[in-house]
Subunit: 231 residues, 2 copies
DNA sequence: TCTCCATTTCAACAACTGTTGAATAGTGTG
DNA sequence: CACACTATTCAACAGTTGTTGAAATGGAGA
């Protein structure tokens, strides 16, 4: 039995009836490969394999891997910022603790399925090209401004300590939620002695309670029992 | 003018009088390359170039890149755990706030120069091989146990809230310091509107104050003014 | 019909990679 | 002296990579 003749494999058609690959599918594939292998460790061919297309197509749609990474940011971060802007409207008269909790729900909605990607983002923040750092900073700034505004309003309304630095406080609130989304799934048994999703929920609550005690006026103002059911 | 004849380059000597490269130097080089490029993106040849040796030497000393990564953990994390074990001794009668602050000083001492490496560690926690995850978990567990013990002792001494989960609380305390070490240098102007080192110090203090308010009994028990000078 | 355009694939090239076995160079021991 | 051992380099191989230009394919419009 002779082995299959490689020259006999059917040639894929090109042009309009070729396998259609839109850029969203390419970006999804890139995200998966970046998450598994880092940006440098993610080869164009691995991304193409993941997307089920020819590597040259990536060059047709994007200039480089970095351009793909930036496109992923451009796809992901503006909707997050929009959701935050909604909460941060000055006309929003919801209680401050509720607004802060809703911030965390926004981050959870937009990031909870991006486990490996966040390590990649951090790597780029710390060791990436200036272009990447600048783009990340720009996007994060837009989201962060909303968080600062909510905290400032909380201070003005007398709900939060007047000595708080809104930028730092926003950083603490958000970064800890991101840590929780990243690490608790991997380490749930060790951190909480509870399994999976239960661990995540319990840790989020414990964090928000600690945070609230740390920032609230008067000290230890109570959080209502149904807060944590708000999605 | 003819170009230099590549065959005429001097051959490097081998054997005992060859350029001496000990494994510490290899690991330093690996850490730098891992930090810049991730583990997958770090080629053996790049590490060898960074170390100034032949790539085959890496195979002489280590089985693989992963083995190098694990050796880096083995080098770095036990001294950290040892320092924490010293603070966590049950006979240590220092005030609880001081012991918690000292925890942060230990992490600062051992990790403050490893900026890119922490993203690599996180990537391995989330997406690494089972071997890497297990090794990381083992090391982190040893350190984390000290943190839990200190928090438990704080609860027993009536300094900390009795409803705190020591594991979660330890996680919050430490992870936020790690976030601060990683991200504040990169984003100091945006987070604090202060430059570099000043931003780091100010953010650490703000975090510890918030944390302390969140965990202390009675609420808002005061931290002494000279705490933050403790290194 | 022909031309243009958009999209996708093919093919190829130079460079890089991981890895291996052999060679080299000393030292110590019997 | 010969041999064994250690540490380092050289050379080579097969495989993978990034990237590019050309080719193929269909649809739309003149």
């Amino acid at each position: 039995m002779k082995p299959p003749n490689p020259k006999a494999s059917p040639r894929k058609t090109r042009g309009p009836k070729a396998q259609k690959v839109d850029t969203a599918l390419l970006l999804d594939a890139a995200q998966r490969v970046f998450s598994a292998s880092g940006i440098k460790g993610a080869s164009i061919r691995a991304i193409a394999r993941e997307a089920g297309c020819d590597p040259a197509l990536i060059y047709y749609h994007f200039e480089s891997k970095e351009a793909m990474f930036l496109a992923l940011l451009d796809r992901k971060l503006p909707p997050l910022a929009q959701d935050l802007e909604f909460i941060a409207e000055a006309s929003n008269l919801e209680p401050t603790y509720l607004r802060l909790w809703k911030i965390s729900r926004v981050y959870r909605r937009h990031f909870s399925r991006d486990t490996g990607f966040r390590a990649v983002l951090r790597g780029q923040i710390v060791s990436g090209t200036e272009g990447a750092k600048e783009a990340i900073a720009r996007h994060i700034q837009r989201a962060a401004r909303c968080n600062w505004a909510i905290i400032e309003q909380g201070i003005q309304r007398g709900d939060l300590r007047p000595d708080l630095n809104p930028r730092m406080t926003g950083f603490f609130l958000v970064r800890m939620f991101m840590e929780i989304f990243d690490l608790v799934p991997a380490f749930s048994e060790r951190i909480t002695q509870m399994p999976g999703e239960q661990a995540l929920v319990a840790t989020e609550r414990a964090w928000f309670e600690l945070f609230w005690r740390g920032v609230a006026v008067p000290p230890v103002s109570a959080l209502p029992a149904d807060l944590f059911s708000v999605e």
